[in-house]
C-alpha cells in the first residue's frame, strides 16, 4: 500500500457502538489484515460502455479491490468518466458486465446500489437553499427506511462525514451560496454519509485549492487503507501517480492494464497517449512518479528546417534544444552525462546524443558517436558550457566536423583544461565560425551560417 504525506487522521466512519457496527468494524479490520488482492468490490468484465448505442469504451476489464486506489488517466474525451458513469447507470452498459460487490449492476436496484457505491463528480449543483448539513444528510437516504425519520446513528454519520471533510463550519450555510470548492467537499461528505464500500471519484479535486486538494486525496487514501475500494479519474498525472496503487490508461476507446504508476506512466506512454514529450522522473519529496511536460507534439513545426547539433551540458542547452525542436529542427547533441539536466531534456525530446555514465569523462566510444552525429548535422551550436577534461572532446568534435559553427559567449573563464579549449575556440573562429553573445541569437546565427555556407559551396 502506498504511503502519503499528512494522513487525514482516523477516517473511520464506523462508530462501533451497536453490534451491527462492531461487526462491520471487525469485517473492515479483517479486510485490512488480508492481502489487498482478496476482495474485488468493483469489476469490469469485458464491459462495453457508451451512450444510446454509441460505444465509448469497448471491452474494459478491470478489478478494483478493497483497500486500493485505482487511477484512470487519459486524454479528454477518452471515456474515463463514461467508465465510471456506467456503474451508476448514468452511462449505458452496452455489453459485458460490471459487478459491484458480487452483483451485476444491471439488476441492482438503485437503493441497494447506493448503499454500496458513492460517487463524487466534477460538477456539483447546490440548487435551492438547502443548508449544508441537510445537503450532507441526503446521503443517508439509502439507509433510512421509507416513512422513518433519521436516527441518532444517521446524525452521527453525517457529523463524522462533515468532520472528515472539514465542512462542519459550513453546516448552517445554504448550499447554493457556497464556493465551488466548499460545495465539492460537501458533496464528498454527502458521499461518505452513504457509508459506501466503493467510492467513484471523477476528477474530485477540480475546484479545490492546494490545501483542500491534499486533504481530500489524503482522506481518500486513508479510506482506501481502511478497506474501501476507490476508482478515481485524474487529470493530473502527478496526483494520479502519488495517490494510486495502480493506474490504467484510457485511450482510443480502450482501457489499458492497471499496473503500478512506474510501469504505466512512461515517456513513451505520454507521447503515444497525450502527444506530449515529457520528462518522467521521481518526485524528490514523495518518491512518486512525476511528470514534467516539455512540449506538445502538435506544436512542433511540420516542415523540417535542417539538422543541428547542440553541444551542451549542465543544463545550459536544454531551453535551446526545446526551442529548436519546436521550430522544426532535427536536433542532436554531443556527449551528455546521465542525470545531467541537458541529458534529461534530450531524452524527453528524443534528441539523439552520446550517452556517458554520471560524472564520467567522455571515452573514445562516446567521442566516436558524437563525431558521427556531428557528421550528419547541417550546423553545430556550441553553448556556454564550461570545458573540462571530461567534455572538451565535445568541442573538439564540433570544431573538426567541418560544419557551419555557431559559438555562444566567450571562452575565457570556461577553459579548465589548461588552454586546449581556448585553442580549439580560436581555431573555430579562424575557420569562419559565427560568435554570438547569447542563446537568443542562435536562430538568427543558424540561418546566417547556413545561408553563407550554401553560398560558399
Amino acid at each position: 500500500m502506498r504511503d502519503s504525506l499528512g494522513r487525514a487522521g482516523d477516517a473511520s466512519l464506523r462508530s462501533g457502538s451497536s453490534p451491527r457496527e462492531s461487526a462491520a468494524a471487525a469485517e473492515s479490520s479483517l479486510r485490512d489484515a488480508t492481502p489487498a488482492s482478496a476482495v474485488a468490490l468493483l469489476e469490469y468484465r469485458g464491459a462495453d460502455v457508451g451512450y444510446s448505442g454509441s460505444l465509448v469504451v469497448r471491452g474494459a476489464d478491470l478489478s478494483v479491490r478493497a483497500g486500493e486506489v485505482v487511477g484512470l488517466v487519459g486524454p479528454n474525451g477518452a471515456g474515463k468518466s463514461t467508465l465510471l458513469r456506467a456503474v451508476t447507470g448514468d452511462a449505458e452498459l452496452l455489453g459485458g458486465e460490471i459487478v459491484l460487490a458480487g452483483r451485476g449492476v444491471r439488476t441492482l436496484p438503485p437503493l441497494e446500489r447506493a448503499r454500496i457505491v458513492a460517487v463524487l463528480t466534477q460538477q456539483v449543483s447546490g440548487a435551492f437553499s438547502v443548508s449544508a448539513r441537510d445537503f450532507v444528510a441526503m446521503g443517508r437516504h439509502p439507509h433510512i427506511a421509507r416513512f422513518s425519520a433519521p436516527s441518532d446513528h444517521d446524525r452521527d454519520v453525517v457529523q463524522r462525514a462533515m468532520m472528515l471533510t472539514d465542512t462542519l463550519r459550513l453546516a448552517d450555510k445554504p448550499a447554493d451560496q457556497l464556493s465551488g470548492g466548499d460545495l465539492q467537499r460537501l458533496a464528498l461528505a454527502q458521499a461518505l454519509a452513504q457509508e459506501p464500500r466503493v467510492l467513484l471519484l471523477d476528477e474530485p479535486t477540480s475546484h479545490l485549492d492546494l490545501n483542500h486538494r491534499m486533504q481530500v486525496l489524503d482522506l481518500t487514501r486513508s479510506l482506501a487503507d481502511e478497506g474501501m475500494a476507490v476508482l478515481a479519474v485524474f487529470h493530473d498525472l502527478d496526483l494520479a501517480a502519488r495517490y494510486s496503487d495502480r493506474i490504467a490508461i484510457v485511450d482510443s476507446g480502450r482501457l489499458g492494464m492497471a499496473e503500478s504508476p512506474e510501469r504505466v506512466i512512461t515517456a513513451d506512454a505520454l507521447r503515444d497517449v497525450f502527444g506530449v514529450r515529457a520528462v518522467v522522473g521521481t518526485d524528490v519529496v514523495t518518491g512518486a512518479v512525476s511528470v514534467t511536460p516539455v512540449l506538445r507534439e502538435a506544436a512542433v513545426m511540420g516542415e523540417t528546417r535542417g539538422r543541428v547539433m547542440v553541444i551542451g551540458g549542465s543544463g545550459v542547452a536544454a531551453p535551446l534544444m526545446r526551442r529548436l525542436v519546436l521550430e522544426g529542427w532535427e536536433v542532436s547533441s554531443g556527449a551528455l552525462n546521465v542525470g545531467d539536466a541537458d541529458q534529461v531534456m534530450a531524452e524527453a525530446l528524443r534528441v539523439e546524443y552520446a550517452q556517458i555514465p554520471p560524472f564520467a569523462p567522455m571515452d573514445s566510444e562516446a567521442g566516436i558517436t558524437a563525431a558521427k552525429l556531428a557528421k550528419r548535422a547541417d550546423a553545430i551550436v556550441v553553448c556556454e558550457v564550461p570545458f573540462g577534461r571530461g567534455n572538451v572532446d565535445n568541442l573538439l568534435v564540433a570544431v573538426h566536423a567541418g560544419k557551419p559553427l555557431v559559438l555562444v559567449g566567450d571562452i575565457p573563464g570556461r577553459d579548465f583544461v589548461g588552454g586546449a579549449a581556448e585553442s580549439y575556440w580560436a581555431e573555430a573562429l579562424d575557420g569562419g565560425a559565427v560568435r554570438i553573445d547569447d542563446i537568443d541569437a542562435v536562430e538568427w546565427a543558424l540561418s546566417h551560417v547556413l545561408a553563407g555556407f550554401q553560398v560558399a559551396d
Binding site: Y51, T88, L111, E112, T121, D134, H141, P142
Partner: protein
Amino acid sequence: MFLLTLGLLVAIVSGTAFGAVPLPLSEVIAAIGRGVRGLPTGLAGTVVIDVRLPRVLLAALVGASLAGAGTLYQALFRNPLADPYILGISSGAGLGAMIALVLTAGATALRFGAVPVAAFAGAMLTMLLVVRLANVRGRLDPTSLLLAGVALSYTLAAVTSFVMVLAREQMAAIVYWMMGGFSAATWGYVIMIAPMFVLGVLVPLLSTRELDLMLLGDERAGHLGLSVERFKLVMLAAASLLTAAAVAVAGLIGFVGLMVPHMVRIVLGPDHRRLLPASLLTGAIVLVLADLIARTIIAPIEIPVGIVTAVLGGPFFIWLLVRGERSR
C-alpha cells in the same frame, strides 16, 4: 403548520360570511352547525350551505391543487419559474376539459365524469410534449422548458378558440369558464374533484424525502438511490392530476401555482416535508381570499377570480425574473 391550518379555517369562515349579502358570523356558524346535524336551515342557511360553502371549499381545493402542482413542477424541473400555467399544462387541461364540455353539451351526468378525465388527459399529454420539446440531448434545459411551455400554451389557446367558434351557442359560458371562476360552484363539483385532489396530493406527501433529493439533480438523486425516471413520471402524473382537477372546475387560474410555493419557500426553506403541506394550505387560503375579493369588490357584479390572481401574480412573476437576473 398549525397557524396555516387555523388561517385556512378563518379564511373559509370569512369567505362564507362575506358576499353580496353580508351575514353575521354567528349566523354562519349556526347555519353550518344546523346543516351538519341535518336540520332545516332557512334562507340564510341556504345561502351558506348550498351557495357559499361549496364555493369556498372548491376554491380551497383548487388553490391547494394549483399550489401543490406548482411545488411539484418546481422541484422536478429544478426551475423556480415552473408552474402549471406557465408550462402550458393548464392550457392542455383546459383544452381537454373544453372538448369534453362541448361534446357532452346535453348530458350533465356524463359531464361530471368526462370533464376531469379529459382535463387529466390534456394535462398529461401537454406535459409529456413540453418535456420532450425542452429535452436537449438528454438534458432538460430550463429556458427551453419555459419557452416550450409558453409557445405550447399559445398554440393550445388557438385550438381552444377554434373549438369555441365551432361550439358557438356555448361560447359565453366557455369564455367565462376559461377566465377562471367559481360562480358555478356546487357540491357536485366539490365531490367531483375531491378524489382527484386526494390522490394527487397523497402520493407526493408520502415522498417528500425523494422530492428533496430531486433538488440535487437527476443524476445525483440516482446516485443516492432514487429510481429517477419512474419517480419523475409518478410525480408528474400527480401534478397533472392536481392541475386537471383545478382546471376542470375553475378554468384557467394563473400564478397561484407559481407564487404560493415561492412565498412558502422563502419563509420555510426548501425542505418538502414542510414546504409541500404548507404550500397546499397557503394555496387554499390565497384562492379563498382571492375569490372573496372577486365577488365582493364590485358587488353585486362578480369578476372572474383569474383576474384577481393575475393582477397579483403578474408583478410577482416579473419581480422574480428581475431578481433572478440580478443574482446572476
